[in-house]
């Protein structure tokens, strides 16, 4: 009974701290990649792959900073057995 309030408090603290930290960094990082027509086509394809693969289980999450997305996509590649091509396109879409 005593463990749960402590765990929930820790989650809240980490979340508040982490969200603020992520938001500050996100704007700086997401503008790094320059757009070009080829990239734009891949981004559109990436969105389709995202909806097909990730949308099967959950709603679209917010876009995290690129280094976080790289970890999340690696995790999901294993968990959801996403193909290599799909993973690359989804990562491109989620980091632009």
């Amino acid at each position: 009974m005593r463990v749960m309030p402590i765990l929930l408090s820790l989650v809240l603290i980490f979340t508040l701290f982490g969200n603020a930290h992520s938001r500050n960094r996100e704007s700086a990082n997401t503008t790094v990649t320059q757009r070009n027509p080829d990239n734009e086509a891949k981004r559109v394809e990436g969105e389709q792959r995202f909806r097909a693969n990730c949308g099967r289980c959950h709603a679209a999450p917010q876009k995290f900073p690129p280094r976080m997305m790289a970890t999340i996509v690696r995790h999901m590649r294993v968990r959801a057995t996403i193909t290599d091509d799909d993973m690359k396109l989804i990562l491109l879409y989620m980091t632009q």
Partner: protein
């Protein structure tokens, strides 16, 4: 008698031998895919360790009995280099109830489980080798839909305990396109028996294979598992998922058959995003309906298991309906009603809130 014994010894040795063949195949595949995987490295941002997971608080009312059910499921992801990942999920959950037949304070135990603690090696674009404790790849619910921020109904399906849970051992898995419109995904594993606290598992071998048709967004797959201890029983499963593109609808179906029984669940989740009236509210609202049945088999249902999930002892059917409201990214409120129709009939209510969090455990600047 001696022949029988030697045959048994052979059968017992046969699985490790097959496992060895699996490893040899994996090594060849690893070498073959090395060049391709270097391409991935060039495209990837350098990943950072993350603490993510979900937390939730639910009130469950089952046959008139209230239970307060907080849940915290932290996930730690630690990428190492370009091709390794250490991932782990803990599961802290409780069902605090009042003493039977009267008032008094809510009380109960917090269950602490280690769902997985695994090391993944991305050998090549077609193969990931996993070692450690991992979620048993059987059907789609255990691996993909179990986290509380993902599942559409908080009440788990009746057949969920069949051949799922966690396994300790080695797993080979991956996905690759077999044509321009079809992807294949697979997972195969060997698990050893363990009675260690937090690492409990059975000696099993099994696998899952699925075909995903990109254009119609349909996945069809099958799973199997063989228990290599005690009664040496076998379990089979089949799953189907469809997301028709013109409508925000998610349809899922799963069937499983084991020694203790068989059953299915079929679920549809419709997001009201195309409704123009009160669109700002409706697009965040989702209606879910599920029908499920369980048919008790000849085998006994294990009653001494520490798992919080158990199969029913007799035939049961249960329709469920629910509403989810997505307040913001990763935060949703949910409510559901179900009717358990078995030897006893009763209502199953659930109300609560689920939250997904993700925080970096390192610097976020691009390298």
């Amino acid at each position: 008698m001696a022949k029988v014994c030697s045959a048994n010894v052979f059968v017992r040795l046969a699985w490790p031998r097959q496992l060895l063949l699996l490893w040899i195949a994996a090594t060849f595949l690893t070498a073959g895919g090395l060049a391709h995987s270097q391409e991935v490295q060039e495209l990837s941002e350098r990943p950072v360790p993350i603490l993510t997971g979900s937390a939730g608080y639910f009130t469950n009312v089952t046959a008139g009995e209230n239970a307060l059910a907080p849940v915290v499921m932290p996930v730690i992801l630690v990428p190492i280099g370009e091709r390794w990942l250490v991932e782990s999920r803990g599961n802290f959950s409780a069902e605090f109830e009042r003493p039977k037949g009267g008032g008094g304070p809510y009380g109960g135990q917090v269950e602490k489980n280690l769902d997985y603690l695994q090391l993944d090696f991305i050998a090549n674009p077609h193969l990931t080798v996993t070692a450690g404790r991992f979620l048993t790849p059987f059907g789609i619910y255990n691996e993909r839909l179990y986290p509380i921020w993902i599942r559409d109904l908080q009440v788990t399906p009746l057949i969920f305990p069949i051949a799922t849970g966690s396994s300790d051992g080695v797993m080979l898995r991956g996905g690759f396109p077999v044509s321009s419109s079809v992807n294949l995904n697979y997972a195969t594993y060997f698990s050893t028996a363990s009675t260690l606290t937090a690492f409990e598992s059975d000696r099993t071998v099994g696998g899952r294979v699925g075909f995903f048709f990109l254009r119609p967004r349909i996945e069809i797959g099958t799973s199997w598992q063989k228990l290599l201890q005690d009664e040496r029983t076998q379990s089979e499963g089949f799953h189907f998922a469809w997301q028709p593109s013109p409508v925000p609808l998610n349809l899922r179906f799963e069937y499983a058959r084991g020694h203790s029984g068989s059953g299915y669940w079929v679920e549809g989740a419709y997001r009201f995003s195309q409704v123009q009236v009160w669109n700002s509210v409706m697009r965040r609202t989702e209606f879910v309906g599920r029908m499920q049945q369980f048919f008790a088999g000849e085998g006994d249902v294990p009653t001494n298991s520490d798992s919080e999930y158990h199969l029913p002892h007799s035939n049961v059917q249960q329709p469920d309906f629910g509403l989810n409201y997505y307040i913001k990214d990763g935060l949703k409120a949910s409510a559901s009603y179900g009717r358990w129709l078995g030897k006893r009939n009763y209502n199953v209510w659930s109300f609560g809130i689920a939250y997904r969090f993700a925080v970096p455990l390192g610097k976020l600047e691009s390298q």
